[in-house]
């Protein structure tokens, strides 16, 4: 197990390194530099700024310097906000994003599981068709469309919840719901098909032949076994939520990390772009890693001790 873990962590670091490198050079391909856009700067002012932030160096040198700092855990200073470290900008903004994201994940998982389980239990009934239709809609319509619909109907027409901005708990609901739609749909479809597959397995007949009551069979044998593969979905779902927040935070004017990210790309705040990219990637790689570990704990057939893993 230790060997496996070390190996995995090694691969995670390599993955992260590749992401950092690729992003760094891709970012340099964007037209302009952080200081070309808004202010009317004289050439000498520009030269001073470039020198201060190391932009007068060749790109290769900048890269080596950046990696050197990164290895010491230093994400550098913002190019646009005088004197602010990237680390502090991320930690200031992560709260709302994490809250909306986690809330969406919980909404999505709970509603999705309920829909999917009911669907499978009442297979081929009107309930089943209804929730399958909902799931297909949820998967095929992008979350920003739902965001706009929610803003218009729930926010403006009915006036139940705030349309945008970040003012207390009620403001978190619409963005979370908009974000959770994809999660709900994916989880519902997945658990439904998993359950239908498990119901057809021989060991379910064995469980019934033991004389177990139908609800015991469903809870202990069907749902439990069907839930295990659903855990693997959590990784991709976490990603869909992370990428979803970029747009959703913009639409609902949530002061989150996603909003900061889009903003920093627009103004070419190099160090912030890098910092947030690294943060998102590291988070994602970590989530996938954790999901794999959880999977091995849930499914006794999966064992990372052997060299085969």
């Amino acid at each position: 197990m230790t060997r496996y873990l070390l190996q995995r962590i090694g691969f995670m670091l390599i993955t992260l390194f590749i992401i950092v490198t690729a992003t760094f050079f891709l970012m340099q391909l964007l037209p302009g530099t952080p200081f070309t856009n808004p202010e009317k700067l004289t050439d000498s002012q520009l030269a001073i700024l470039n020198a201060k932030y190391g932009l007068d160096q060749p790109v290769a040198m900048q890269y080596i310097q950046y990696i050197g700092n990164l290895l010491q855990g230093d994400l550098g200073y913002s190019f646009q906000h005088e004197g602010r470290t990237v680390t502090s900008m991320i930690s200031d903004r992560i709260g709302p994003s994490a809250f909306i994201g986690l809330q969406a994940l919980v909404f999505g998982a709970v509603v999705g599981l309920l829909l999917g389980i009911v669907s499978a239990l009442k297979h081929n009934s009107i309930l089943d068709y209804g929730s399958v239709t909902l799931a297909v809609l949820g998967m095929s319509i992008p979350s920003f469309v739902f965001a706009a619909l929610l803003q218009y109907y729930v926010g403006v027409k009915l006036g139940w919840l705030p349309v945008a901005l970040w003012e207390g708990y009620s403001s978190t609901l619409l963005p979370s719901i908009a974000l959770s739609v994809t999660v709900t749909a994916t989880v519902a479809r997945f658990i439904r098909s998993e359950m239908l597959e498990v119901i057809g397995q021989d060991y379910i007949i064995t469980a019934r032949a033991k004389g177990l009551k139908e609800n015991q069979v469903m809870v202990k044998h069907v749902i439990r076994n069907a839930l295990i593969p659903v855990v693997t979905m959590l990784g991709p779902l976490a990603v869909s939520i992370m990428t979803g927040t970029l747009v959703i935070e913009k639409i609902f004017a949530v002061p989150g990390l996603g909003e900061q990210f889009t903003l920093s790309i627009l103004v070419l705040d190099y160090s912030v772009i890098m910092g947030i990219t690294i943060f998102y990637s590291a988070l994602f790689i970590f989530v996938v890693f954790v999901v794999d570990i959880i999977y091995s704990l849930l499914d006794p057939r999966i064992n990372y001790k052997g060299g085969a893993a």
Binding site: N124, Q201, D202, Y203, I205, T206, A207, R208, A209, K210, G211, L212, K213, E214, Q216, K220, H221, R224, N225, I228, L298, D299, P300, R301
Partner: protein, 344 residues
């Protein structure tokens, strides 16, 4: 007869398909006596498993239906029982062992727990007592180091060991009837022999009646007291082991016995298969289901379904050749000849 524990009467089971009802079991009759082993033999699709599952009522309600007939357990109709009564019987009075031990255990539950679940469902035992019972059962079916094996998962067992676990699970509550649906088909030959030996052994200890479903006549010869031969959803011949093996009356039984390769035959002897293929149940109408493949057909075989002809010993055959109303006129010489040659 007080000795009879299970009676199946004129059982008809139909599958609901998109093209209407398809009757897979078309009038099955048999009795099971306490402590005996009844083998049900037949080729794939003859309705063996469907019959077995309808006794336990394990067929999916949405797609199957018992259209006619009844099943009595200790004089009570299983088909008229409530769902709760049936689940109370399952595992405690009537148990089942399935074909494939690789898939018939829950892969994510420890085997001890899987045995305990059934025990705790039917008997008022504490967890510790149930665990004790599970341990005893594993020892009984000959699993080495049973103590530590209780906490293993099914994938940590070999196929033969898993089938032992399945048998332990089925017998944990001391059922009166064990239905074994091809219990050795998925196992290799040496393991098959061990499992059959185990079942025979346990039957002596527990006096459980066994319905053994198989298509392997070797297994039948080894295990059964009585044999029922199924074809096209019906039992075409039923009798004691000796009657079926040494005095088969139905051309299909005869064909089955002849098609078995024999060790003492000369090498190079061609096998004697039954010509043709099993009937399509959807298009099967009146007449004998075997008529299309039977070497001894008469006109009557195609138009009327044969009734059971029963001898004093209880050997019954559903074949016009044995029916007294036909036998007078028909020329039996051919069958008598071929029958003799195979049973010498």
């Amino acid at each position: 007869m007080t000795n009879t524990i299970l009676t199946v009467e004129d059982l008809h089971v139909a599958f609901k398909t998109q093209h209407g009802k398809l009757t897979a079991v078309r009038g099955v009759n048999f009795e099971l006596k306490k402590g005996e082993t009844l083998a049900i033999v037949g080729e794939s699709g003859s309705g063996k498993s469907v019959t077995a599952k309808s006794i336990m009522q394990l067929l999916p309600k949405a797609t199957t239906e018992v259209t006619k007939g009844d099943i009595h357990y200790n004089g009570e109709s299983l088909l008229k029982m409530s769902k709760n009564q049936i689940t109370d019987l399952r595992g405690s009075e009537i148990s089942m062992v399935f074909q494939d031990p690789m898939t018939s255990l829950n892969p994510t539950m420890k085997v001890g727990k899987q045995i305990m679940e059934g025990v705790q469902r039917h008997e008022n035992l504490t967890k510790a007592q149930a665990r004790e019972r599970a341990l005893d059962m594993l020892k009984l079916v000959g699993i080495p180091q049973a103590e530590s094996r209780l906490d293993n998962y099914p994938h940590q067992f070999s196929g033969g060991m898993r089938q032992r676990v399945v048998i332990a699970l089925a017998l944990a509550c001391n059922p009166k009837v064990l239905i074994a649906d091809e219990p050795t088909t998925a196992l290799d030959v040496t393991i098959q022999a061990q499992i059959l030996e185990l079942m025979k052994d346990l039957q002596k200890k527990t006096e459980t009646a066994i319905i053994l479903i198989t298509h392997d006549l070797g297994v039948v010869a080894n295990m059964a007291d009585r044999v029922a031969v199924m074809y096209g959803g019906k039992i075409v011949e039923q009798g004691t082991l000796d009657e079926i093996f040494y005095n088969p009356q139905h051309p299909y039984t005869l064909g089955l016995l002849r098609s078995m390769p024999k060790l003492n035959e000369d090498r190079g002897q061609p096998l004697m298969p039954i010509a043709g293929s099993p009937p399509n149940l959807a298009t099967l109408g009146e007449g004998c289901a075997f008529a299309a493949r039977c070497p001894h057909t008469m006109t009557v075989c195609h138009t009327y379904t044969p009734r059971d002809t029963v001898t004093e010993t209880g050997h019954s055959v559903a074949c016009w050749l044995q029916d007294s109303r036909v036998a007078k006129e028909a020329d039996k010489a051919e069958l008598v000849e071929s029958g003799n040659s195979s049973t010498e």
